[in-house]
Symmetry: D2
Subunit: 280 residues, 4 copies
């Protein structure tokens, strides 16, 4: 017996769950978890099923496809053990990187980390001490397109399914964002859309907010506007300086990013135009 | 078209979702929401489906029953508009009562409140100002069984589907609890199992906790041990007296009880031995 | 013996606490609570002291003033029992109003509510059932200045120390805001600065946020930009419609506004330029 | 100029703040932060002041002592830069250890970590990679008193001011606890007093709670009953297994323990009989 995860996205309508479960019953699958959502606004239907069966992936895929081909659906099935290959990008702040590496090391995060890319040398040691390759891709206005080409090469060569921007302070090109749509997650250190752009903790301090937060979102060409995956907050007071906000914020950033990566790694996150569907 | 809510609980096994969806497809139902859960420990399967169809309730029931009779399931289907009839019991603290009445008045809570029962006269005015009957059932050791008989009479006569103990400070008999199993919700003013019994805020103060909470749970003969439906907390400090904890606690109690009643009213809460399954 | 609350705001420097406590010791005061804060940015010092003494208010004031006159401070002392007189303004949504009235009725909020003003008749009954005057001040572009004059008259005649905008959907004039600076609290139904302006829950839905919130702030001429007093959040999911966000938001709004009014009523809130100092 | 932290605990009464501030004014100190609390139950007064002055520690101490000797107070003043020396004890779970080491490395935690002691070899590598001594003190019923003697030796030789039990799974002797009262902090993986003893996440699962938490507390001879310093929670559902609760719990444990150590390191935590006073 092996465990599988199936995800499906299509135009909503009657009979979809029945079609899928017929396809699964035909391969004697036992459903372990299932979530679905019909979005009235977009008219889209989203489904995630985790099931077990003794059949092979190809057989399962064929059965599911046969029963859903009329739906013109985006259908995907994978073995649960075929976990996503993840590339982390980072600049100088290493708290999110260190946190992800720890969770990976103790097998809490169901991903394979295949390397770290940075525009600084700062995180080389921590990366290599985990037995991972570290690629230093410094950025100048002239080198940007060359480096992105190198980045895409790494993504392709290592079979990367998810790029995680763990406080990577450079903006990726529109082309890159489009090409990797739905496969790049960023952590923004504010509760979007509250404080876009640079130095959000300084903005938060100046505005005197009583809560700060962090937002994990898919990266699109439109910076700080990508579909939101996860957000959390922490309480602050008038006595907290912008530096104190940043310190408190680090804990929130780590939790939010790790949570978003975990959700993605289990195929729980769907793009729904400018929003997401998250089966938490 | 009418909306329906179907709930099902049975021994887990393959084909259950398929069976249900076949039954629903046969009456041209369109599934709006569906949640299910397989409990590995108890071996039980739980499902809730909200769907729309132009067929009558009897037709829908017949189709669902026909396709699931082999499951020996506990199956229930109701029109979404057939909201539960609720009886509230209260003693002297009225904050939960006032809160429930308000949410009912603005149609936030999908229930029909059919009356308030109390062992004190304190809440008569607020009850009657909402056009609801108020039954004063004072309790003495001698009168207890007589009053419970009266209570059961009210429950029966008014078709009560849920009794809410909104800070009702008397213990109901084992017989009553058994007879009404899964249909009586209590709010306990602590984060069970932390502080059972009387004066939990005084216990919390003495222990110097940094968080207080409230617990909504089904009532069983074993006081403070019924299956938990919902819990929330609030932060407190050394400077908060037991009275201050009680004040802060009132907000938590109101939110937790209202949430539990709301979940129950939408058939989102299932008993799973000593635990619950809550499709939130 | 009587309890007093002293607040002081002045330029920071050495010896301030010593000066105050000398003044209090001279009238045999026993300090019950004291909080202070030095703001490095603004160079301002803020202090709140709650104390008890058998001396009269005039004697206490004279002693405190004598020991602090060199500070050129904004100093205020009041009997704790001289609670602020509050005027509530509301439009049609009554959840914040009902909540404030309840907390006032059970003596949870240390304020005297002296009336409700509205541009609609909707809340007349709930107001009058609490034995409070209800003033209907409908607004047209022409009547605005006349109605604000009437409002100021009410504020003056009833000795109002705080105006609470409990979902009052009209914009007050710059003149009014300036004249009442630091004495008008508004509840905004978003986590400012996230979603300014109208229909913030619709904005939140469109942006697909995972947390919604509410903000209580002082009203200034610059709408949605006044100093923030309190903020709280609630978790939401992709499945929550804009209406559901509004329902969840009502609970947050009530808690946040009540908390802000409570803090103000105990003289715990200070203006610090565009921010506040809150001794919570 | 240097920064100092003063803490004082004594029987409550009038004039204490005045006495302290007189003593500080005499050495031209400028108060940066001050918090105080009078506990009505215990009749105790607690104060923490952070101030700056150009005088030496001895001069400051002499002045403060001179003005407070009539109070029979427990008085302590230290340079802010004389941060506490911390010894960490751990068994096999390393998530709290790794977290504390990271916060120490980036200078977030104002402590000097002077070593790690364990009854297992598991954490030797991570410890030594941070350039810290690792002492392996395996425990058998026979060796316990010998090992505790060795532990006390380490504490004494390295000038340890705080011992942190970062998931150390052995019970320390009554003698040790008494001798180190107020200087040993433990992280218990439940929201005490909810689930004392072993396997609290299994207990939480069996009880079906909707919130799990962690508690940092001072260690006393009475296990799981020491004064609570900090508590936090996370939300869980029926679908979370005991293992999932443990995973979610690890994040809470790390945050709670780091927060408690941070508070202690800044002299913000006072023992108040069975409770604590925490100036957060």
């Amino acid at each position: 017996m092996a465990n599988y995860i199936l995800t499906l996205k299509c135009a909503d309508g009657p009979g979809i769950i029945h079609a899928i479960t017929t396809g699964l019953l035909d391969v004697s699958a036992n459903i372990l978890e299932q979530e679905q959502y019909s979005d009235t606004d977009s008219g889209l239907f989203f489904l995630r099923t985790r099931f077990e069966t003794s059949e092979e992936l190809e057989t399962v895929l064929a059965s599911a496809a046969a029963h859903t081909h009329h739906l013109d659906a985006s259908l995907r099935i994978r073995r649960e053990s075929d976990i996503p290959r993840v590339l982390i990008m980072v600049s100088q702040y290493d708290h999110c990187l260190v946190d992800l590496l720890y969770r990976w090391r103790i097998h809490e995060l169901p991903v394979d980390i295949v390397g770290v890319v940075s525009n600084h040398e700062t995180c080389r040691e921590i990366t290599e001490s985990h037995g991972l390759p570290f690629d230093y891709l410094p950025l100048t206005p002239e080198s940007k397109s060359v480096q992105e080409a190198r980045l895409l090469e790494i993504v392709e060569q290592r079979g990367v399914g998810l790029v995680v921007l763990a406080r990577y302070m450079q903006i990726l090109s529109d082309d890159f964002c489009r090409g990797m749509a739905g496969r790049v997650i960023n952590i923004h250190h504010s509760l979007l859309p509250g404080f876009k752009g640079a130095k959000p903790y300084h903005q938060a301090y100046a505005r005197g907010v009583k809560l700060i937060g962090a937002t994990a979102h898919f990266v699109t060409g439109d910076l700080d506007e990508g579909p939101i995956i996860e957000q959390q907050v922490a309480r602050v007071t008038h006595a907290d300086t912008a530096d104190a906000l940043a310190e408190i914020g680090r804990d929130v950033e780590r939790l939010v990013l790790a949570r978003a990566v975990h959700l993605f790694a289990e195929d729980r996150v769907f793009l729904n135009n400018k929003r997401t569907v998250v089966f938490g």
